[in-house]
């Protein structure tokens, strides 16, 4: 390739301000992107991916600055260019697709008004022509009802559709470069497929160069020509997608690739006639007048993990609320050790409350930021077990050891002084403090990076073996299900569509919906998306609509 690169970043250093000092975020990274090329930028949270992506547009958020290096877009130095010159490029030649389309569309304006804003303001096209082009793009992105959807407000459109509308908006001026910042992270797997396919097609059709930022290796394998791995602001390695997947050279990259290999050995089937620890029996539930759960039944046995999977809105968390008694069911009941639990948690005895504990998705918000770790864990120890003084301290220390944190070091710390994974461990210790039989884990790993998440899963597995705990594991991530579950319950629209032992669930024949879920989980194979779409009979290249512009 002898042509000039479209984007040339050299020795870029970025710094973020905290407490009046500037700390490095990116320590001098080079990035080169040719026309029409898609570069995947991957790394864990805090690796500086998004900051780097924004810097490629010559943009930094408040409290971040580019301290060194150069960013050259098609021969224009973005760091030296005036604000007006940059405004002329942004939106017109360099576009951005954000992680959360719901937050990034202005709630006060219709989608089409926001779509045409770029071309009209940049003088690329008139209002009428831009609208027609918008409808054409909506059609190419396979949005339902493309003629009408643009005249709706963002809140009237689903998340997956919004994400495609945002891709259409980024395309509105036919930019040379698009930065995709985790565009599918907030979506369900089944929705993710459609968005991934749409993005890939349209980028191919218009020969747009792209930087695709994600933490999901399987996703990046589908989208990128080349992959660059970042770790704590440094580049680990860069290579073609195929090379990177088959022969990563760096230890860190290999470890990223290895995460998905964790899987617990299968346990023998539950003995017939044994009493389940918790049994959900024919539960119907509603929020106000809106019915949410319909006839939900499943059992959870001692020392085993039941994974409850389904898309957002399928009723997984509502089931958990029914079990804990936060939302009394309209019909049906919850049994604990063969005895019916009062529907309302206020009517349950302290011992009944103690047996059912919960670990939350966002450890950040589930821990009181003003209490020390010791206090947080000591509270249930005192409340449920009645321990005080030295005995209480001893119990807390033992709990901290169980979650693999050194008691002397962590006892007096505040939650803000811990990493995300450590906070989640505190959440686990707090649940264990009650010495429960049954723990509900509500998406406990979905806010964590893969390596950290794997650590949490291993810890939960070890604790289960040691303490014979039974888990209800709510998740939308099927890789996690594969790793940890003994039984699987698949939910959709408030109903259980399929349930059974894991081995059975992961071997065909499946219920149609389970099949859709399973087949939608991205795999590391770069041809996975192409093959899947071919299998499902979707015309993914969109050759009917060859670009006219």
């Amino acid at each position: 390739m002898s042509e000039e690169p479209l984007l040339k970043m050299r020795g870029v250093k970025l710094e973020g301000r905290s407490d009046e000092t500037w700390n490095p975020i990116i320590n001098g990274i080079d990035l080169t992107l040719m026309r029409g090329e898609v570069l995947g930028l991957i790394g864990e949270s805090g690796a500086g991916k998004s900051t780097m992506g924004l810097a490629a547009m010559g943009y930094t958020r408040d409290g971040v600055r580019i301290s060194d290096g150069s960013v050259e877009f098609d021969g224009i130095d973005l760091l030296k260019a005036s604000a007006a010159v940059k405004r002329g490029l942004l939106g017109k030649r360099i576009a951005y697709v954000a992680q959360s389309a719901a937050a990034s569309f202005n709630p006060a304006h219709k989608l089409m008004d926001q779509h045409v804003e770029g071309p009209v303001q940049h003088g690329v096209n008139g209002r009428g022509a831009s609208e027609e082009d918008g409808i054409e793009l909506y059609r190419k992105l396979r949005l339902p009802n493309p003629d009408q959807i643009g005249f709706r407000y963002p809140h009237q459109v689903s998340g997956g559709q919004l994400q495609r509308c945002m891709t259409a908006m980024a395309m509105s001026c036919r930019p040379d470069l698009i930065i995709f910042d985790e565009p599918t992270t907030a979506l369900d797997v089944t929705t993710q497929i459609e968005v991934l396919a749409s993005i890939r097609d349209i980028v191919e059709q218009f020969n747009t160069a792209a930087i695709y930022i994600t933490h999901d290796l399987a996703v990046v394998a589908q989208m990128a020509d080349r992959i660059k791995v970042l770790l704590k602001g440094d580049e680990v390695e860069t290579a073609d997608t195929a090379t990177m997947l088959s022969a990563p050279t760096q230890e860190y990259t290999k470890s990223l690739w290895a995460v998905r290999s964790f899987e617990r050995p299968l346990k023998p089937a539950v003995q017939t006639g044994s009493v389940p620890v918790v049994s959900v029996q024919k539960v119907d539930a509603a929020y106000g007048k809106v019915p949410v759960l319909h006839d939900v039944s499943f059992d959870m046995h001692a020392g085993r993990t039941v994974a409850v999977v389904g898309e957002s809105g399928s009723g997984k968390s509502t089931t958990a609320r029914c079990i804990t008694g936060l939302l009394p069911p309209k019909a049906g009941q919850i049994m604990l050790d063969g005895e019916a639990l009062p529907a309302d948690y206020r009517k349950r005895s302290k011992d009944q409350l103690r047996q059912v504990q919960m670990i939350y998705q966002m450890a950040d918000t589930a821990l009181n930021p003003r209490m020390s770790i010791g206090q947080i864990i000591a509270r249930p120890v005192q409340f449920y077990l009645g321990l005080t003084g030295a005995e209480k301290r001893k119990k807390v220390d033992r709990l901290l050891e169980q979650i693999e944190l050194e008691p002397t070091e962590y006892y007096n710390r505040l939650p803000s002084e811990l990493s995300g994974g450590q906070k989640q461990r505190i959440g686990i210790a707090r649940a264990l403090a009650a010495e429960p039989k049954f723990i509900i884990c509500d998406e406990v790993t979905s806010a964590l990076d893969q390596l950290v998440a794997e650590g949490i899963l291993r810890l939960l597995a070890r604790l289960q073996d040691e303490l014979s705990l039974s888990y209800m594991f709510i998740t939308h991530d099927l890789a996690t299900v594969k790793a940890i579950a003994d039984e699987v319950v698949v939910m959709k629209d408030g109903r259980v569509v399929e349930q059974g032992p894991k081995a059975e669930m992961f071997t065909p024949p499946h219920h149609a919906y389970t099949d859709l879920l399973l087949s939608s989980v991205p795999e590391m194979d770069p041809d996975w998306l192409t093959n899947l779409l071919a299998e499902r009979g979707v015309d993914n290249i969109g050759d009917a609509a060859v670009d006219k512009m």
């Binding site: 942004l90 990034s104 202005n106 709630p107 304006h109 303001q121 809140h155």
Partner: protein, 330 residues
């Protein structure tokens, strides 16, 4: 839209209920004022018989509950009774034939007050919002700070002080506007406007700071949101980002502050009226309290309360309508 209509009806019903409660509070509070009209009108000459006679004529000897419902019933028909002070007590005749009704007395003054409030609002609201937008646009610049200092010092200064400063500059040193704002029924609109200019400007200085600072704060509050970042990354001009993308989402708090300030313009401008000799309702209210002219005081209070409730209700409804989620349900 059905949803929105329900909310609006609920608010209207709540507004009416509030008004009813306020009417009780007004009635009780006014009747608890120390002193008695009969006593204060008769002064030194008050004999027990004369006092009793006047009290009987005015119905003051009735129990409070009866008087409340008489008054409320009348008020609902637009009849606020007759002013004590204008009644002719010379003959102790027991008839109120020569008396002016409260409604007749209040109507022209209230119209004047509304006129002044509207002129002020027409100047102050756009001025404050534009200033707020510019301050948000050039935040932390010299302009932003100067605007803040200017509006804060004008809201912190006593109204009469602002009024005299304006008179000094715009009536004495540069005779552009008249310093006396006496207006009559037969004046043309432009004459009234000219006469009301200085009081309107004074009030503008008083109410601008609050509205301007809320506009600025509400907009800046939104600047960290994702859709504002998106608008910037689309290469839009900073002005467009603020006016088209931030302002529509910042409307609810701004509307509420505007309503509060408009209510103040109707109910709280007595000092400015006195300085400019503007014949508004504020002055009548203060005079009536002084001489315990209860029907007038009650009527004024009720009008003020209604203005407050109506304006806040309007603000509520407009805030609801500014939310596209409520205007266009799924």
């Amino acid at each position: 839209m059905g949803n929105v209509l329900t909310i609006i009806f609920q608010r209207l019903a709540l507004g009416l209920l509030t008004l009813l409660i306020v009417s009780v509070v007004i009635f009780v509070a006014v009747n608890l004022l120390p002193g008695d009209f009969a006593q204060s009108i008769l002064g030194q000459a008050a004999t027990p018989e004369a006092v009793a006679s006047i009290r009987r004529d005015l119905g003051l000897d009735q129990p409070m509950v009866t008087r409340y419902f008489d008054w409320l019933g009348g008020a609902l028909r637009g009849d606020f009774g007759s002013s004590f002070a204008r009644a002719n007590f010379a003959s102790f005749s027991g008839t109120n034939s020569g008396a002016t009704t409260v409604a007749e007395q209040i109507a022209p003054l209230f119209a004047n007050t509304m006129f002044l409030a509207m002129v002020t609002a027409a100047i102050a609201v756009p001025f404050a919002i534009i200033l707020g937008i510019l301050a948000a646009l050039y935040r932390n610049s010299v302009f932003d700070r100067a605007t803040n200092i200017f509006t804060l010092s004008s809201i912190s200064s006593p109204e009469f002080f602002l009024a005299y400063i304006l008179i000094l500059f715009f009536a004495v040193l540069n005779p552009i506007f008249p310093s006396l704002s006496t207006i009559f029924d037969d004046m043309s609109f432009s004459e009234r406007l000219e006469k009301s200019m200085l009081p309107a400007l004074t009030l503008t200085l008083v109410v601008t700071a609050h509205m301007m600072r809320m506009t600025r704060a509400a907009i800046i509050n939104l600047l960290a949101s994702s859709y504002i970042e998106m608008a910037r990354l689309k290469g839009l001009s900073p002005m467009r980002v603020i006016v088209i993308h931030a302002l529509p989402n910042a409307l609810a708090p701004i509307i509420n502050v505007i309503a509060l300030n408009l209510a103040y313009l109707i109910t709280g401008v007595v000092v400015v009226e006195v300085v400019f000799v503007y014949p508004g309702i504020g002055q009548l209210f203060v005079d009536s309290v002084k001489i315990r002219d209860i029907p007038v005081v009650q009527a004024c209070c009720l009008i003020f309360a209604t203005a407050f409730i109506l304006l806040n209700l309007t603000a509520d409804i407009m805030s609801i309508l500014s939310n596209p989620r409520l205007r266009h349900p799924k």
